[in-house]
Symmetry: C2
DNA sequence: CGTGCTTTTGAATAGTATCAAGGCCGGTGG
DNA sequence: CCACCGGCCTTGATACTATTCAAAAGCACG
């Protein structure tokens, strides 16, 4: 992580939760900005999370590692999203955030943010809505992990990646991601992901071209998981901006 | 569900999120109160969730059913807790809330609540904190489902039930719950739960006495899941009252 | 003291994880 | 330009775990 520099939010053109603050507060917001390179940590398991991070531009994975070294990708976050939940009393909880590619990230100290919240209703209200939506998504994910087959979990992971990071013009996932990482989302290993992807290719739902995964038939891929309920919704809380 | 009656929150002695509102608003809060019998629905899959529910006294399970009829218990909620997340624009999402035992529940219309929020910072702030904490718990649960063995998942389910509903004086779980329901939390079936419980009894972690499940050695049961991180914390967001 | 529901137990089956080996590809250095 | 190397992906075989089906035993309630 490069030396952080303080930036002035009032001059920033990015869509960001902080923009919900009144100009008076926005002007004096003590926001730090970093450039994080691929594979660098925003914060690391075992350290207290004292800052809240806003992704200006880039891609980040939030991971949790068991003692046995088995990793789980708990969440993906892209442009405009939040990482490093405001913890209860800055307590330690074992989660890391790692950049999937070079990203521009802003952060603000939790206690400072707390103070600012008291004077900015819209910020708190939108954060509440954001968490409420993320909670629902997370609850549905828990259900999926409990019931899906490996192939379905992989399909879910692809759709989740697509939802978070979007597609390129050729319908390929807009992120360089390994089989192993897809497995860390789906809760399986790289071999199983490989097998599942090939199955999905046989069914013409996706295409695999070198390192790219192309979502050939998005609708069919999505409906193949219909029996688990509405997993992916159009409306993003950020659309409220 | 019995005919609902409007109650006056200002006279209510229960700990409840609504209590965070200023007296002025509390006095005129259009809160409805119901008595819900065992196995009755608070709300049902397929219907829009237009109300937010506060459990005054009782026990509720939040379930989600796949098209194949396989159920998943997504959350348990006890005294003082919230059910029926304020959805984004009252949209339908396929989740039901069912009483595990006779319960006293209050509800308030989402839109009304939204209006009240605007004037009650503390309410919004605490709701945000509540969701933030629930989200973290849910994210950890997703990780657990992806990595735990069936026996571990059952141990997790027991601890989750204990955390939510507490223990009786004899250390038995303070709720009448079927093997099938434990399976719906753990993401498995009743036979596996039965086998897992008997295994845990052999290890002297629990005792099974008729329909009661006694947590013999809470600490050991908890540490048996240590490798998955801190799953159960003492501090409850409600302690902020 | 049946009757119906829950729990337990056993056996067969299906699904998944793991281990091992080989193939593919891009990058590097001769 | 080509050979080599290392990282990633694919494939097959095997072992293990969990699910499913079937049946019996236990329990609660009228």
């Amino acid at each position: 992580m490069l030396d952080n520099t303080y930036v002035n939010c009032i001059n920033c053109n990015n869509q960001c939760f902080l923009k919900l603050c009144k100009p008076k507060y926005l002007k004096e917001m003590p926001t730090k900005q970093y450039i994080v390179k691929k594979d660098e940590y925003l914060f690391k398991e075992g350290e207290p999370v004292t800052e809240m991070y806003f992704i200006q531009h880039g891609k980040v994975k939030v991971v949790s590692t068991g003692l046995d070294g088995k990793r789980q990708i708990v969440r993906l976050a892209g442009n405009g999203q939040i990482v490093g939940h405001r913890g209860y009393k800055n307590e330690i909880y074992s989660i890391s955030a790692i950049a999937l590619e070079e990203s521009r990230v802003c952060s603000i100290n939790n206690d400072t943010l707390y103070g600012i919240m008291k004077k900015n209703f819209d910020l708190v209200h939108n954060l509440m809505m954001f968490y409420s939506l993320e909670l629902r998504k997370s609850e549905l994910r828990a259900k999926c992990f409990a019931q899906m087959t490996v192939k379905e979990k992989v399909a879910y992971a692809l759709l989740y990646i697509k939802e978070t990071f979007g597609l390129n013009n050729d319908n390929s996932l807009n992120v360089a991601i390994y089989r192993k990482e897809i497995g860390e989302i789906a809760g399986t290993n790289d071999e199983q992901v490989s097998r599942a992807l090939i199955e999905l290719r046989k069914e013409k739902l996706i295409e695999i071209s070198k390192r790219k995964i192309i979502i050939n038939n998005y609708e069919k891929l999505k409906t193949s998981l219909d029996r688990y309920g509405i997993l992916f919704e159009e409306n993003n809380i950020l659309s409220c901006f």
